[in-house]
Symmetry: C2
Subunit: 386 residues, 2 copies
């Protein structure tokens, strides 16, 4: 978003990228609106749009019949024939999706595999994409692939340093996948890509300072957007909330001596107290809501207290305008949204709480695929005609 254009040609790249980004992340809009939002000249926008059209990246169609005087301005939309592949390997399956520019999922498959290795993932993805290419994606242009990995990914080269649930360690999936698909490949942490998706297309849309926390079966991960930028930190490992020491006002709230946040705020504990063996988030939510055993309410309240303290800390340190909770953390909040939000705000400075919103994640299961695909689009947005 904010590369500095030091050269005159760079200005063109920047501006082409800005226009394409606008219709990709913000949806279709008229040329006139683009002119107003970019602050560029009409003639400049005209030129930029026609170049993007020539390159097949955007489509123009007739304007909406508006009731206003004046010449109607054609609507510019991102081409849905430009596609990036999103991949999310998990412990029991691989999820693959084809996402078009604009952020809609065109095709999507979940392929059951138990704890797949790198070669297995690459093979399955390559076969699936090959099949799509001559079928659902006929006539489309594939521009890249993104892989959302449940683990620690080194930002500089995309090497998976550690993915405990997959059993990967110092694994390079970018190289093999790039070879197999003949496409550029981005690799990133799943929570980071979830953050990206929620910020661009979900609950944190339009927010420049976002804290995102996701609770899954394997723990708590998250991501940050500050100054409108996704924050990776020095190595790209930022967002590991699950490993932070939890703040508990009452020592009786602790369950694991020397434990960390994800030991205390924990999905399995909720399943246990609800008497469930395994369940998806919807089932868990219903079970918790329907439970009559007071122990359930006690455990939910305990986890809510601890989570609220963590979020209060995050608010004081980062001053976000939006906190988004995904997975079972959203369930904890939804048990009584207003009370939860108030408790978080109460722990933050007034001036910070004033402008703090909280939300449960808006995107469903597509979140990671959309985020991963968007990371793959990033190269295109940086230099649309390159």
């Amino acid at each position: 978003m904010s590369e500095r254009a030091t050269t005159v040609e760079g200005v063109r790249r920047t501006n082409l990228g800005a226009v394409l980004r606008l219709v990709h992340h913000g949806g279709p809009r008229s040329r006139a609106v683009i002119t107003a939002e970019t602050g560029l000249n009409r003639s400049t926008v005209s030129d930029l749009v026609s170049r993007l059209t020539d390159a097949g990246l955007v489509c123009e169609h007739d304007p909406d019949p508006t009731r206003r005087v004046g010449r109607p301005s054609p609507i510019v939309a991102a081409s849905d024939k430009v596609i990036a592949v999103g991949v999310n390997p998990e412990i029991d399956a691989i999820e693959i999706g084809a996402v078009s520019l604009g952020g809609t999922v065109r095709v999507r498959e979940r392929i059951a595999v138990s704890s797949p290795g790198v070669a297995e993932v690459v093979g399955i993805v390559a076969r699936t994409v090959e099949r799509w290419r001559s079928d659902a994606l006929r006539g489309c242009r594939l521009v890249g692939a993104g892989v959302a990995v449940p683990g620690l990914v080194r930002a500089e080269d995309g090497v998976v340093r550690l993915a405990p649930h997959l059993g990967w360690q110092d694994a390079d999936i970018a190289g093999p996948l790039r070879q197999a698909l003949a496409l550029p490949v981005a690799v990133g942490n799943d929570a980071s890509y979830g953050t990206r998706a929620e910020r661009l297309f979900g609950a944190a849309r339009e927010h420049g300072d976002v804290v995102y926390l996701n609770g899954g079966a394997s723990g708590i991960g998250g991501g940050l957007v500050l100054h409108g930028q996704l924050i990776g930190g020095a190595g790209g490992y930022a967002g590991e909330w699950g490993q932070t020491a939890a703040s508990m006002a009452d020592a009786a709230d602790r369950r694991v001596e020397g434990g960390v946040l994800e030991n205390e705020v924990n999905r399995q504990r909720l399943l246990d107290v609800a008497g469930l063996d395994a369940a998806d988030d919807d089932a868990l939510q219903s079970a918790l809501a329907a439970a009559t055993d007071p122990a359930v309410a006690v455990e939910v309240r305990r986890q809510r207290r601890i989570l609220a303290a963590t979020l209060g800390n995050a608010a004081n340190v980062l001053n976000p305008s939006m906190i988004v909770l995904g997975g079972f953390l959203g369930i904890l909040r939804d048990a009584d949204r207003d009370a939860f939000d108030d408790e978080v705000r109460r722990r933050a400075f007034d001036v910070i709480a004033e402008r703090l919103e909280l939300s449960s994640a808006a995107l469903g299961a597509d979140r990671l695929l959309i985020g991963a695909a968007d990371a793959a689009f990033e190269r295109l947005l940086a230099d649309p005609l390159g």
Copy 2:
């Protein structure tokens, strides 16, 4: 640093700023080095430098006698005649400094006043600067002033929302001071400006992802640099570590029920246990080192534990490459640096701890003046010839 240049003229602004920033933050260097570091063409750099010289912002002087073949390249240095004023109102005094481009403090005064109001600060600063103008700063060009306020400052307009130690609330100091000095004025939180100074000229030089925590008599504040940018958050209030709930593995470490970090990691508690009434940081450090009472060591260890847990959390969430500790937090660390650093690293993921450095603050009392002045320079760097 990273404004996007959407126009051709904007490219020139960006590049002029980049060159000026280089010699301002990085020190004097030859044209040849500037060419290499900016990636710009020789002829472009030549033009940019001569424009900056014409504007009196940089000076060129004869090259160092290097032992290499080839035409020597003249050294470009930021002009020390370009000055910004840094101001730091405290509870017992106002500190004022004149800082030249390049970051050196030219003049500096500490004026004792008890808990000054806005009008008092403005008056004193105006008189002092007026005196300097016809004396120490004769022939200099003043380009702005920055005020480091111990309190919450709204980023969007510089209004001081709350500065408890000064008794200010919703106070506008930018307006009156701008009028009195006839200069643009920047207002910010003191810890933010300290962060800025340590990052540019101090311990975190060259680090793109920095966590800075400062411990003073009034509490614990801090700042963040991520992706090379100073992070303010949605309202500019980010960095309030002091108000976060502390994480304590052992409940016996708690001293204040429902208290926050700055209640537990606390300068006054150190003074008390050391039997001191009041002392500056140097005296406190000596007293703690010389103490024989085992209660002193116990309290130091307790505060170190809590601080290390907080820093470990910060490392996991933000993945910084450098953590800088100022004020009495530096003293706590210095009591046994290696042990402290190891404890912080132990609490972070291996991959994060691998590349995590810690340091005590490198700049002394000048820190806030340098940071505040640098904030005032920002306008100049964004558009050097504007």
